[in-house]
């Protein structure tokens, strides 16, 4: 009883509410600008938290984190420029929707999916933190290795059209991800002695280059077409559409929670896994990538599901799963608190006050997001001839901002050209991205397992978690083969009956 009043005392301070609201607003705004990531905003906000009360300080940062996770999807949908890496998957369906005049629907769905996923993620944090933290601890290198293998199989389902081209894209992605210093020996790999490449290729210039730039190149390559004033504001999400996507949202959130609880995988991977899962289960997978609202829902649920769950290893083990949680860890320390097993014993009221604040942040995200959509969706009405030069400017400034170096501007333009070539040859960009994200994780965990097990291969089948993911991987491959064969047969049948197929 005494605890409850203490929790409420800590929580019911105006400062907390202001901190959350300001945090979410900053997060959504900064997250939506390409190149400016929530990570940068959190780092910048950190000094301001030094003089605040601990609860408000952490909530401000968490607010930015959650807002940024959603904010990235706004520009991804409207101008095919992921505001943050995790929203790269959202643009696969979000941008086609915007082009078809359904920008508002996509934005709203992204918001609702984000908020629902956020909520589920928070629940997991509050009620299952101890349990999930235990799973995270049992997740060693071999378990990780199989999780990555399973994640790699999603390339198969992401490769719309030609399977061969999808696999080529993934291989190129893996190859580029290996540029840099070798993680075991520290030797150089394909850096050609260039210092800028030693920390491997920066993700954000790659992302902006791959998606935003080709769109701009193509626009100026094409014959001038008169601007169609599509009613971009359009309709929102109907209740039945939300209901239709709800299963995908919940599944995506759970995928996000599990990925988030395991330090080091990240929201981008979660979004893609969730997306491909939704695509696989959908009765009409061929619509994915062409403006399927469920695709937007699934990927946003995946990346926002991570946002609450990354706080699980942070609070219960003191382990930051990504850069933002590392900064939040710093904020805890500045206030004389050390996240970890002892925090729950010594500062339980504070933890619960934080939990209440985090729950509140999801609600605030709903309102802030709705307001943001109202103004942002106007972007879709701007003629491309005016919009694209400004987008390009943001892209260049944003790429520079990553490392404060012109090299990344060059890199972004190079990836822009590559992305354009991909478009022309029909090589899909999504598997390339997956390869780029998962390639190093695959190699690192393979080698880590070999080092830990002293080259004994039995470490790869050492426990139930490995067996589970091996089964999933095999199942996923077999399912893809089965689908491939049946679709072939169908194609043959329709081909042999003239008229039926056309």
């Amino acid at each position: 009883m005494e605890n409850i009043t203490e929790v409420l005392q800590l929580f019911l301070a105006t400062e907390n509410f202001v901190a959350i609201a300001v945090g979410v607003v900053i997060g959504v705004t900064v997250g939506s600008i390409p190149g400016l990531t929530a990570t940068m905003a959190v780092a910048l906000a950190l000094p301001f938290t030094f003089s605040m009360e601990p609860v408000a300080a952490i909530l401000l940062l968490v607010g930015i984190y959650k807002g940024g996770m959603y904010g990235g999807s706004i520009t991804a949908i409207l101008i095919r420029t992921p505001g943050s890496p995790a929203s790269a998957c959202t643009l696969l369906d979000g941008y086609p929707m915007a082009q078809q005049g359904e920008a508002k629907k996509a934005l709203k769905m992204a918001l609702y999916a984000s908020v629902i996923a956020d909520f589920i993620s928070n629940i997991a944090l509050i009620f299952f933190a101890a349990y999930l933290a235990k799973i995270a601890l049992n997740f060693g290198a071999p378990e990780f290795f199989w999780l990555i293998c399973f994640s790699l199989t999603i390339i198969i389902s992401l490769a719309s059209g030609s399977m061969i081209k999808g696999l080529i894209a993934a291989l190129l992605g893996i190859l580029l991800s290996l540029v840099g210093l070798d993680s075991v020996f520290g030797s150089q790999r394909l850096t050609f002695g260039n210092y800028n490449l030693m920390d491997s290729i920066s993700f954000i210039p790659l992302l902006i280059g791959l998606f935003a730039i080709p769109e701009i190149i193509e626009f100026y390559r094409k014959k001038v077409i008169p601007h169609l004033r599509a009613k971009a504001s359009g309709a929102g999400v109907s209740f039945s559409e939300l209901k239709g996507s709800l299963k995908s949202i919940v599944r995506g959130s759970l995928i996000g929670v599990i990925i988030g609880a395991i330090p080091g995988t990240g929201a981008t991977a979660a979004a893609f896994i969730s997306y491909s899962d939704a695509k696989r289960r959908s009765p009409h997978p061929e619509r994915f990538g062409k403006g399927e609202v469920e695709g937007v829902a699934a990927s946003e649920a995946g990346n926002n599901g991570v946002a609450g769950a990354t706080l699980i290893p942070l609070l219960s083990l003191g382990i930051p799963g990504d850069v933002i949680t590392a900064i939040i860890l710093g904020a805890f320390m500045v206030h004389g608190l050390t996240p970890g097993p002892l925090l729950f014993q010594e500062n339980l009221p504070l933890i619960y006050a934080l939990f209440l604040g985090i729950m509140l942040s999801s609600v605030i995200l709903l309102f802030v997001g709705n307001a943001a959509i109202r103004y942002f969706s106007l972007i879709a009405d701007i003629p491309k001839s005016i919009l694209f030069p400004i987008v390009l400017m943001f892209c260049v400034y944003g790429a520079y901002a990553v490392n404060n170096d012109t090299f990344d501007v060059w890199l972004m333009l190079a990836f822009g050209v590559l992305g354009y070539v991909f478009n022309r040859t029909g090589i899909p960009a999504a598997p390339f991205l997956i390869g780029f994200i998962l390639g190093p994780m695959f190699e690192d965990n393979l080698r880590r397992s070999l080092l830990i097990g002293s080259n004994d291969l039995s470490i790869f089948v050492r426990g139930p978690i490995t067996w589970f993911f091996i089964a999933l991987t095999l199942g996923s491959i077999l399912l893809a083969l089965y689908r491939f064969i049946t679709s072939r047969q169908k194609a043959k049948q329709s081909a042999s009956e003239p008229g039926a197929g056309a």
């Binding site: 910048l44 030797s187 190149i217 014959k223 012109t406 029909g426 695959f442 080092l451």
Partner: protein, 166 residues
């Protein structure tokens, strides 16, 4: 691949695929026999070949080789109409495209020299002319936006963009 094709006349069904396949084939050979041996260092002692920094690049190289061959074969045999629709479009005048390329060069080449504001204004103006934009007040945006956004980045977000040519 829902349609049935009977384009028996041409020898190669999808020339784009063949060209891309050949280029990828060349790249994978370059990777396997020149880049990997020359640009990836290998420690002298290695207990397990899988530990080598060259292991994954080599595997990727060989797979790329196999798939590029498959892509060439596919390009020769099958025309993929479903995808083609998105790939073909009516080309605009060359000048328009050249001006766009010029603006990219302005950003990449002159960003550090001229500073963010001037290169931003220059590139945006070039792009407006390229389209061409005929509403005069829009050209004002070409000055307002680069200046405003540069201030946003440097003043508020602490990103040290190169401001002016000095």
């Amino acid at each position: 691949m829902t349609k049935f094709h009977s384009t028996g006349g041409t020898l190669i069904k999808d020339p784009w695929d063949v060209v891309a396949g050949v280029m990828l084939l060349g790249f994978s050979l370059l990777l396997l026999f020149y880049l990997v041996p020359n640009y990836i260092g290998q420690p002298p002692i290695m207990q397990n070949p899988m530990m080598s920094p060259r292991w994954l690049p080599n595997i990727v190289g060989w797979l790329l080789l196999v798939f590029s061959v498959l892509m060439i074969i596919q390009g020769v045999l099958i025309a993929d109409d479903a995808e083609d629709n998105g790939r073909r479009f009516e080309r605009g005048p060359l000048l328009r495209f050249a001006l766009m390329a010029l603006s990219l060069i302005v950003y990449a080449g002159l960003f550090e020299m001229l500073g963010a504001v001037i290169s931003g204004i220059l590139a945006t103006l070039i792009l407006f002319i390229a389209h061409p934009v005929r509403t005069w007040w829009v050209y004002g945006l070409a000055i307002v936006f680069p200046a405003g956004v540069t201030l946003l980045f440097t003043g508020i977000m602490n990103v040290p963009l190169p401001m002016w040519p000095f």
